[in-house]
Amino acid sequence: MELNVTIKLKRGVADPEGENTKKALNLLGFRDVRSVKSLKSFRIEVEPGEGEGEDEEKVKQEVEEMCRKLLANPVIHDYEIEVVKSERR
């Protein structure tokens, strides 16, 4: 099972990387660019579980735990988890 984890900055947290990218794009002539936000994403592959099929909810919960423990910093980050490939047999 493969999941996409997207880490983004919370609202109100400054995003200097996005700001600078926006400025550069504007300078390159893309004047319609109104805002740029930087995101970080991870593609995580999880071993299919034992027994009958896999419990998508359980895996998702585990990935959420991963986000809380390492991938995201709850002080500044929000995260989204999305299943991109589930292995149905």
């Binding site: 400054a14 200097p16 390492l70 910093n73 709850p74 002080v75 500044i76």
Partner: protein
Amino acid sequence: MRTPKICILRIEGTNCELETSFAFTRLGASAEIVHLKQLTGAVNERERRNLKDYDLLVIPGGFSSGDYIRAGAILAARIKGALGAEIADFIENGSPILGICNGFQVLVEMGLLPGPSFGFAHEKGAIQRVALTTNDSARFECRPTFIKHENRGKCVFTGGIEKGSILKMPCAHAEGKFFIAEQEGEWGEVMEYIQLLEESDQIVFRYVDPEGNYAPYPWNPNGSVYNIAGICNPEGNILGLMPHPERAFYSFTDSEWSRRKRKGEGKKEDTCFGDGKKIFESVLNYISKKSYL
């Protein structure tokens, strides 16, 4: 008296452990660079070390685990996972921990700073509200900075430094902006939080200009709120700071060393040592007093 034993933690990517160990060795302590694996026991018996045997733990600067995910995140997770109980005992015992630059980021990620009473990160009920995030300039900022000592005497690393004195130390980081989360999107909350830190005497260093005024960029290299450069925990035995005291241990590592010498500024002893020395000296002082008691 017993020679104080210093544990300087190393994992892949730390790069300031040598200077740090030189600094402590020069002051007569016995400094040892210890790999995290040596503490967790994933090595043979001869290499095994025990955190309990040391008087001070230093998490040095550098780019632990390549700064992947976030600066310090991986090292923090590894320490917490493999060494959590030992670290808790170590702190309980009153033994000091110093985090420089990347080490500061690790201590904040672990929730040891601003400290448990302010909430352990990632634990139920308590919320960590502080983070070190990307500099306002979105660049790696590498320059000498001036920091003013603000602590009223709680921090064991600055006992020998007069309050209000200005130290010069280089900083070098891309993620060093001291950030406090607003819970309801109100700026007043951030100021309240700062006041809490101030009341419990946890603010240790703040960026200033050479005259000692709290000044914006470039004197505040990263856009830290309230110009905060370093904080300690409520007990004062854990210090984290972004600038590098070990790089200002000798005066000749200062960028303006030769110019100052020509002008004949400073006393004789000042021409040998830089401002960073005082931090190492103060904590060694604390350790020798503590072991005496």
